[in-house]
């Protein structure tokens, strides 16, 4: 195991974040604050509490998930796309490292960044609403697993994309709708019966549901199912990354 390589890839990625600290950290804080003002205070005050949880509090886990998913994907995707785009990837590919180390370095950095952002959102939220976390260990488990698996997913997108358009395509066309329709801002049983069924095909629903359960013990599906869902997603991403590196996909001709 080339520990030094993992270390420098990780630190290099984190440095990139530090250099754009305003964009990396300020933007999630500002957008979270805006969501709270609009949904929590303005609209939320007219919405009745959901299973005993006031609306402003109810949306916190969904809001965190929204940021975690989009940030994890875009960070990791950009992290590997950029060196591919400017050619500096040659150095990584000619170094004595296997794909495992490359993935740990890049995905680890992206996941860490998401963890930091998630924590910042949580702290920001606690200024607006009275938060309680019923199952902190479950909460951290979902939090960490989500950051890792969606960073891995973003990494795959970054490997696959050969232009900027493709880089934006999946997050924009698939992830954002799935998150919004996955119950970030509502409970599934607020939907008409037909759409409740359709929503069950949305994998993000399971994530948000499990995460929300760890906060308030309120969920749309069972927490075990949620955990199984995120673990299978993680396994699928790992298999795909392994396959891509094994075949040299777009990295080695």
């Amino acid at each position: 195991m080339n520990i030094q390589a993992i270390r420098v890839i990780f630190l290099n990625e984190m440095r990139r974040t530090r250099n754009s600290i305003l964009q990396s950290v300020a933007s999630p804080v500002i957008s979270t604050a805006l969501y709270f003002i609009v949904f929590g205070a303005a609209i939320g005050s007219r919405i009745q509490s959901i299973e005993g949880v006031s609306y402003g509090v109810f949306i916190v886990p969904g809001l965190m998930m929204l940021s975690l998913l989009t940030q994890s994907i875009s960070n990791a995707a950009f992290g590997i796309f950029f060196p591919k785009f400017n050619g500096t990837i040659y150095e990584v590919m000619s170094a004595p490292i296997s794909f495992v180390e490359i993935v740990i370095g890049y995905v680890g950095a992206s996941a860490t960044k998401s963890l930091i952002i998630g924590t910042i959102i949580l702290i920001t939220a606690s200024f607006f609403v009275d938060l309680r976390i019923e199952h902190p260990i479950w909460m951290v488990t979902f939090f960490v697993l989500t950051c890792i698996s969606f960073s891995l997913f973003g990494f795959i997108i970054g490997l696959w994309a050969d232009n900027f358009e493709k880089l934006q395509l999946i997050p924009l066309l698939i992830i954002t709708p799935l998150v919004f329709l996955g119950g970030s801002f509502y409970s599934v049983d607020m939907l008409p019966a037909f759409w409740q069924k359709v929503t069950l095909f949305n994998p993000v629903l399971y994530l948000i549901s499990g995460f929300r359960w760890s906060f308030f013990e309120v969920s749309d599906v069972s927490v075990g199912l949620s955990l199984a869902m995120i673990l299978s997603f993680l396994a699928a991403c790992m298999t795909l990354v392994w396959f891509m590196f094994k075949t040299g996909y777009k990295l080695r001709s």
Binding site: A5, V8, N12, G87, T88, E91, S94, P96, S253
Partner: protein
């Protein structure tokens, strides 16, 4: 070949996905501590050959061993001791010089060594640029940063893919000095170049590639002796329009409006050159000699000859 080859390439072929065959059954041994120059026209396969050894391109057939290790099965062992300066100026422009060099060192598994990197940057005349952003550097400086990155992990084999392309005369001389210094410290160097004088100046051996085939690898001196042609130019006192029949067998040509007879012959290896006989035949034919001079072909002429000759097309 000899036992002290640090790189051994056997039957290496590469066909890219688009069907283009960039390397054709290449066999090559690089000796420990030597400087090997690879010469070849654009698209000959030089970069492909280097990239395959470094692990950037997967061979279609054949094997490569570096220091006795297989470049695919034991890639960690082989890549650890290799440094590569790529042909293109590929750098992440938002990084600082010092950081990007330290990054390279880490990638190759070495613990941080700020003092070594400082010294390296000094040696490459980058002492006042250590904390500069890469985008503020000139092309020549970027080239030197790439060299610093390739040397950051103290490799024992260095690949330089056209190190002096787009580099001014002074820097080129510096580069040659650097290469010489590295050789003194035992580093094996493989470089590609379009500049024949560069190969002539610094290489021990020269390999010529064309169309994916390694046409030859020879000691520079042997090559020049073996293939080097000399031209004997005989200036006549008065111009002639035809070459006398008695001189036909020499394959002479007439130049300078019939004032000069040119005789081409192979030099070296103690073979008779035929010059004595030619000169006496010329005076017997009634022509008067004014002056005589010879010129030697350079590596460049040899090279052009080789890649043009029909048997290699």
């Amino acid at each position: 070949m000899t036992s002290d080859a640090i790189i051994s390439i056997r039957n290496l072929s590469k066909t890219y996905e688009n069907g283009h065959q960039a390397l054709k059954s290449v066999e090559l041994d690089v000796q420990r501590g030597e400087i090997l120059a690879l010469l070849g026209p654009n698209g000959a396969g030089k970069t492909t050959l280097i990239s395959t050894i470094c692990g950037l391109v997967r061979p279609s057939t054949g094997t490569i061993t570096v220091d006795g290790f297989d470049t695919i099965k034991q890639f960690r062992k082989t890549r650890e001791i290799i440094g590569l300066v790529p042909q293109e100026l590929t750098l992440s422009v938002f990084d600082k010089v010092r950081d990007t060099v330290a990054f390279s060192r880490g990638l190759f598994g070495k613990p941080p060594a700020p003092a070594y990197i400082d010294k390296l940057l000094d040696d490459l005349s980058l002492h006042d640029k250590k904390d500069a952003m890469l985008m503020t550097l000139s092309g020549g400086m970027k080239r030197r940063v790439l060299i610093a990155k390739a040397l950051s992990h103290e490799p024992s084999i260095l690949f330089l893919d056209e190190p002096t392309a787009g580099v001014d005369v002074e820097l080129r001389k510096d580069m040659w000095k650097l290469v010489d210094g590295l050789r003194q410290s035992g580093v094996t160097i493989i470089l590609t170049t379009h500049y024949i004088e560069e190969a002539e100046e610094i290489a021990d051996r020269v390999g010529v590639i064309n169309n994916g085939e390694l046409l030859l690898v020879e000691e520079k001196r042997t090559l020049m002796q073996k293939l080097g042609k000399k031209r004997l130019m005989v200036e006549l006192a008065e111009s002639v329009t035809t070459i006398p029949a008695s001189l036909q067998k020499y394959g002479l040509s007439l130049e300078m409006d019939g004032r000069t007879l040119v005789y081409t012959y192979r030099a070296g290896e103690g073979k008779p050159t035929g010059i004595t006989r030619l000169l006496s035949d010329i005076s017997e034919s009634g022509l008067h000699l004014q002056d005589v001079k010879t010129t030697e072909s350079s590596l460049e002429d040899i090279f052009v000859d080789l890649v043009r000759s029909p048997e290699h097309q």
